[in-house]
């Protein structure tokens, strides 16, 4: 097996033979040749132990690559900018945990807010400008990317109240009635304990979570 040379390679340079190497990031196969597609350091990753394929993976890393680009199927973090009756616009900030450098606009349509009862969705009660949303991306149309929050683990992950304080998610079922309630499509907090948000009771089906956002 080859050693990690770490030498700098440039686009088009030969990295090895595809019979002995697997193609990783920053590399591509051109027939039998494996070539670099960006400038960076050549790195060999040994095959995971126990795998049948004994070829190591070659990748090009280290030097600057272009900023993250929204890919269909990626989970993005977006900030809601505008809420309308049938859709909400959001600026994409992160794609799969990588910050984007350029401005990309996403659109959450009414039918993409939650998985069930999609015709009863009220956009104004689902999102407010400034909310940080976790959403699934698809390519959408010529104008914008389509964002979908129709899954348990997708939805608002961070919000501020009108007074500007952070809000926490509580399930209204376990709380006293009569307080001011805000309906929002919230993200299932299990995956996001780190963000400081929690949902005391998951409704289960994960839709129309009736939640009260209380001042922190």
């Amino acid at each position: 097996m080859e050693h990690d040379g770490g030498e700098v390679v440039t686009p088009g340079e030969l990295l090895g033979n595809s019979l002995s190497l697997l193609v990783g990031r920053g590399a591509y196969a051109d027939g039998r040749c494996v070539r670099a597609s960006i400038t960076g350091h050549r790195r060999l990753v040994p095959p995971p132990s126990g795998s049948t394929d004994q070829r190591s993976t070659v990748e090009v890393v280290g030097h600057k690559a272009h900023g993250a680009v929204p890919q269909p199927g990626s989970v993005v973090i977006a900030r809601v900018t505008k809420v309308m009756a049938r859709m909400a616009s959001a600026d994409i900030m992160c794609v799969d945990s990588k910050a984007v450098k350029e401005k990309f606009t996403g659109m959450i349509r009414q039918q993409d807010v939650r998985a069930t009862e999609i015709d009863k969705v009220d956009m104004y009660q689902s999102y407010r400008p400034g909310d940080i949303v976790r959403a699934l991306l698809s390519l959408g149309d010529a104008r914008a990317y389509y964002l979908s929050t129709a899954q348990n683990e997708l939805g608002v992950v961070s919000a501020q109240s009108i007074t500007g304080r952070f809000m926490m998610a509580y399930n209204v079922l376990t709380n006293d009635a009569g307080s001011s309630c805000v309906y929002q499509k919230l993200c299932d907090a299990q995956a996001h304990v780190a963000t400081g948000f929690r949902i005391l009771n998951d409704v289960g089906e994960g839709f129309a979570l009736l939640l009260r956002l209380r001042y922190n």
Binding site: T10, Y28, T39, G40
Partner: protein, 263 residues
């Protein structure tokens, strides 16, 4: 004095007998060279198959994702690459990325301002030369903008723009199959001269521009103008391809320098 007075009264004027002498002399000299089929010295002292020294650098434009500067003799070009970024709203939906190329000249690019005329097609040609190498499927629905600005036009502008743009794309970290370099040759009678200056371009019988991916050994663009015979075309294209490979080594060196400097 009296002649002038006579001319004034006759309402006519006479050009100097020596008008165009310089031009004729130059033409005559060139014709002599062609007849002799000799290796005459070029204005800048190069031999026929010598390219101008290539000075290239990455990163002159800090606001861009990637940029490059190229200086070949008098020709000076700066290329900035932006993106991948969101396509303009007016554009149609597309599954793959887009490459948007634009070539412009500064007003002071030529000795006489406003002389640049027939370079409108350069943007399209730059696009054609580069689209084969950029992996557009990597960034669906987005656009990569390539803006080339010719600071000074000193001949072989398009090939230098293409080489410089490919360096800028690599600097921006855009995924590419290979670097593209381009070299042009001019034909004078039986002679082929490489990397012509603007004077030589003005006198040429024909020209060939080759954009080439040296590692993959593929030509991305071939432009032939003027009169060429079969044997000479093959020879000229091979000459260009060899020059492209050597120019590509310069580009790779620059990229490696920049990569090791960044650490």
């Amino acid at each position: 004095m009296s002649a002038a007075a006579a001319a004034a009264t006759a309402g006519t004027y006479s050009p100097a007998a020596a008008a165009g002498e310089k031009r004729r002399e130059r033409k005559e000299e060139l014709r002599r060279h062609l007849a002799e089929d000799a290796d005459w010295p070029r204005a800048d002292g190069r031999s026929f198959h010598d390219c101008r020294p290539a000075f290239m650098q990455t990163g002159p434009t800090t606001a861009a994702s990637g940029s490059a500067y190229a200086e070949f003799g008098k020709t000076k070009v700066i290329v900035s690459v932006f993106g991948p970024r969101e396509s303009k709203k007016a554009m149609l939906y597309s599954d793959t990325g887009r490459l948007n190329c634009n070539v412009s000249y500064t007003t002071f690019a030529t000795p006489i301002p406003g002389q640049v005329t027939d370079n409108k097609e350069y943007s399209a040609m730059l696009h054609k030369a580069l689209e084969g190498t950029v992996m557009l499927h990597i960034f669906p629905k987005t656009t990569v903008d390539v803006f080339a600005l010719v600071l000074e036009s000193g001949g072989s502008d398009l090939p230098i723009i293409i080489s410089c743009a490919s360096l800028a794309l690599a600097d921006a970290g855009i995924m590419m199959c290979d670097l593209v370099t381009s070299v042009s040759v001019s034909c004078f009678g039986k002679n082929i001269i490489i990397d012509p200056t603007s004077d030589e371009e003005a006198w040429q019988d024909g020209s060939i521009t080759v954009a080439y991916m040296p590692a993959r050994k593929e030509i991305t663009q071939l432009t032939v103008t003027g009169e060429w015979s079969d044997g000479k075309i093959t020879n000229a294209v091979e000459l260009c391809m060899d020059a492209c490979s050597k120019l590509c080594d310069v580009l790779r060196e620059r990229l490696k320098d920049a990569a090791s400097l960044a650490e």
